[in-house]
């Protein structure tokens, strides 16, 4: 069974997660320093999320289509994203098997991994809130 009932639910969870990341300096600062723009494309259900750190000081979170050209794009099922944030996914294996598709400089995408790993501690409480509101 899918964790997310629909796109709205997925958007809500991701927005909540990234808002908390942006307010957590030890996670947000390395991302801001990277000045990267990353777009996540989710399917089943569909959603699109862009994290724009290009100016190095503001953490912009954009839902849906936009005109910003990302340096890195990551494509995956929403359930793969859920497993990723729960720390349950083997990223190299997911990349090799095509579960996660990475477009753009892969070395820059990989450099982000250690930076966002601390957010694995934030995510479970967000998902728990979602499950509570569903029940």
């Amino acid at each position: 069974m899918s964790t997310f009932k629909n796109s709205d639910e997925l958007n809500l969870v991701m927005l909540n997660l990234w808002t908390q990341i942006s307010q957590t300096p030890h996670i947000a600062n390395p991302l801001l320093e990277s000045k990267l723009i990353v777009t996540f494309h989710y399917r089943s259900p569909e959603a699109q999320l862009t994290i724009d750190c290009a100016n190095g000081s503001d953490f912009n979170i954009l839902l849906g289509d936009n005109e910003i050209k990302p340096l890195i794009e990551l494509f995956m099922k929403a359930e793969v994203a859920n497993e990723f944030w729960l720390g349950k996914i083997n990223v190299p294996m997911a990349l090799l098997s095509g579960k996660i598709v990475s477009k753009g400089p892969i070395n820059k995408a990989l450099a982000l991994l250690p930076a966002i790993k601390p957010a694995f501690q934030i995510y479970p409480s967000i998902i728990a809130q979602l499950n509570q509101s569903d029940s």
């Binding site: 794009e73 990349l95 598709v101 990475s102 070395n107």
Partner: protein
């Protein structure tokens, strides 16, 4: 056993006459425009001149680009892509080593998608469209590029290696002809052979190495290479040795395409991008330090591999390292970065190289997590 996926999209053909085989296959197709890619070293060989004469007799238009240099440089890839698009090529034929084959894979992306800006397609599995047919004839035994699902380009603008991975990059045919290897210079025989050995060892010990298929390919490849690489090096015209090393290289290529490589490749990519060193020779410098580093908590992988490759109950990681040391001595390869031709490294150089290696995609498959400090230490200790 863990679940696994093993992918290969290439038909591997072993022959003693690549030219006849290609002409025979072309006679069944309605190919109208063929792009042939090679380098100057191959272009001046008699076998290539004969092949070029024969292929020019068929009806298809032939476009030859024979000046590919070491590494698939981005601007060269883009220039060749323009030529291929302008000539409406519908088949690419690559005859050469890893640089020629990787260049051909990247040109094929641009040719098929009609876009010369190759950097738009870097990434893993971002290319999903079936590309035009690519036939490759390796003239070295080492890179495994003839069967791999990846291509590495060199971007001179940034001094970085750029990575492309997709099963769509795979060649349609890998045509293995050992006769093409008998004129391979000794240094290239040694360096490319060590590249194949590194592929097999790193694929076996990779965190993705959970497949009995890749394991068997690694063991078989190493068994062949430890036996026949010294013979191919000392007796270049020994066709049996050339056959075995060529097949072993392809086996190792299949293995690493499915399992990944590791810290040795990550460091070799970083050094090669900055100092233009030969990839296989650079792998050779880092192979023993890499094994020793990973043995901190993955020694059992190497013990197991050594036991299986040398079919010796007493063979372990230490035995494997001794065998590699003996092989490096036989192959007369540089044993450190200084003898590989690197200048004295400053602290800034070491920092930059380690930073590059730290985000190299190869490193994500390494059995031991390597920190920036670990990589700096490996570079410093491998200097002399």
């Amino acid at each position: 056993m863990n679940p696994f996926v093993f992918t290969t999209d290439t038909q591997i053909v072993f022959t003693y006459d690549f030219g006849e085989l290609i002409l025979d296959k072309l006679s069944d197709l309605s190919t109208s425009s063929i792009l042939i890619l090679t380098d100057l070293g191959i272009a001046k060989q008699d076998f290539f001149k004969v092949f070029l004469h024969n292929i020019n007799q068929i009806e298809a238009k032939i476009t030859l680009f024979d000046t590919i240099t070491s590494d698939a440089e981005v601007t060269i890839v883009e220039s060749i892509t323009r030529i291929a698009i302008d000539n409406a090529c519908d088949l690419i034929l690559a005859i050469g080593g890893g640089s020629v084959i990787d260049t051909a894979k990247l040109v094929n992306i641009g040719l098929t998608l009609k876009d010369t800006e190759i950097l738009n397609y870097q990434g893993i599995n971002s290319i999903t469209q079936k590309l035009k047919p690519l036939w490759v004839v390796p003239t070295t035994a080492g890179t495994g590029s003839e069967v791999s699902l990846v291509a590495v380009a060199k971007d001179n603008a940034s001094n970085k290696k750029i990575f492309f991975g997709s099963h769509c990059l795979a060649s349609e045919y890998a045509i293995l002809d050992p006769n093409l290897l008998v004129t391979l210079p000794k240094f290239l025989t040694a360096a490319t052979g060590m590249d194949a050995i590194t592929h097999a060892i790193e694929a076996y010990t990779s965190i993705n190495s959970n497949s009995p298929i890749t394991d068997s390919l690694c063991i078989g490849a190493l068994n062949n290479l430890f036996t026949y690489l010294p013979i191919a090096y000392n007796e270049p015209t020994n066709l049996s040795a050339r056959e075995q090393t060529l097949i072993a290289s392809t086996m190792a290529g299949l293995a690493f395409s499915n399992s990944g490589v590791g810290v040795v490749h990550a460091l070799a990519h970083a050094i090669g991008a900055k100092y233009n060193t030969h990839h296989g020779a650079t792998n050779a410098v880092f192979l023993l330090p890499g094994i020793k580093f990973n043995s901190r908590n993955s020694q059992s992988y190497y013990d197991d591999l050594s036991y299986k490759v040398f079919n010796n109950r007493n063979a372990n990681q230490e035995f494997l390292c001794v065998k590699i040391s003996e092989l490096l001595a036989t192959l007369e390869l540089p044993l450190n970065l200084k003898s590989l031709g690197l200048p004295q490294l400053t602290n800034e150089d070491i920092e930059e190289l380690a930073q590059t290696a730290l985000v190299d995609p190869s490193l994500m498959f390494n059995p031991v997590e390597a920190s920036l400090e670990d990589l700096k230490e490996l570079i410093i200790n491998s200097y002399n």
